[in-house]
């Protein structure tokens, strides 16, 4: 199999309102250059926004920074969104979601579910050193 080209863009944003838009917009133009469909670009943007606002709201990180790494290969865009905050256990996500949450019009606790819905693959690596969410979108 031929070696795949791999290109990396990294972005550092301060934890501050609207800075998630910078991360989303950067993804949008990279995905556009990669010739992703518009609907997939919207999905990627929403997933990044939700991941960033989670880091903004919940990480309590001292350096107040989020690093986004965009790894571009021929037909996939991988995103790593990392903070140096307090981390969380995967059991934290115990609110109603899915059908039950929708029925109850549960207001919060949807972020991770939205991210999983929008992307093809999502991995959470969280601990004392912070949280890194790695997610993948294939060009359809």
């Amino acid at each position: 199999m031929a070696d795949q080209m791999k290109r990396e863009v990294t972005l550092n944003i301060p934890i501050h309102p609207n800075m998630e838009l910078v991360a989303a917009q950067t993804a949008s133009i990279i995905a556009e250059i990669m010739d992703f469909e518009e609907i997939h670009i919207d999905e990627i943007q929403l997933a990044i926004i939700e991941t960033c606002i989670n880091a903004f709201e919940h990480s309590n990180s001292e350096d107040s920074k989020v690093t986004v790494t965009y790894v571009v290969t021929d037909d996939e865009l991988e995103l790593k969104i990392a903070d140096h905050g307090v981390g969380f256990g995967t059991d934290k996500t115990s609110l109603l979601t899915g059908e039950a949450g929708a029925q109850a019009m549960q207001k919060r606790g949807w972020g991770l579910e939205i991210i999983r819905e929008m992307m093809d693959k999502v991995e959470i690596d969280s601990g004392d050193e912070g949280t890194t969410i790695t997610m993948l979108k294939k060009r359809a």
Binding site: I39, D42, I49, Q103, A104, M105, W110
Partner: protein, 114 residues
């Protein structure tokens, strides 16, 4: 720092239309909620929110939209959305908004039979 976000309001016979322009997050959805409550207090219990110029809505913004629905529900009002992108529509459905608010293609179909 704030993104440029705009709200346009139009009142018709029996309903009001709010047109958003820009990113719907916590603060901007709060603006929208204020406007919706004002209109409700002016006697417009049926509201149409036109999202044609909004491409991104985050989950905090949607949680505030749910509050608007609850506010209107309690007062016998009704909320209609139109011009949702496919991704916004999907997110609305995931979070249960489609149960208590109606989703339409455009303003014309949202306002027929109002």
């Amino acid at each position: 720092m704030a993104t440029s976000f705009k709200l346009d309001t139009r009142t018709e016979d029996g309903y009001a239309v709010i047109q958003t322009d820009g990113y719907l997050n916590g603060p901007t959805a709060e603006q929208l909620a204020e406007t919706a409550k004002d209109l409700m207090n002016q006697g417009y219990s049926t509201l149409v929110i036109n999202l044609e110029k909004t491409r991104l809505v985050n989950s905090i913004g949607i949680s505030i939209l749910i509050e608007i629905i609850e506010f209107l529900d309690e007062r016998g009002g009704g909320l209609h959305f139109c011009h949702l992108t496919p991704v916004i529509e999907r997110t609305f459905k995931m979070m249960g908004l489609a149960q208590h608010a109606e989703i339409h293609r455009d303003e014309a179909s949202a306002t027929t039979n109002l």
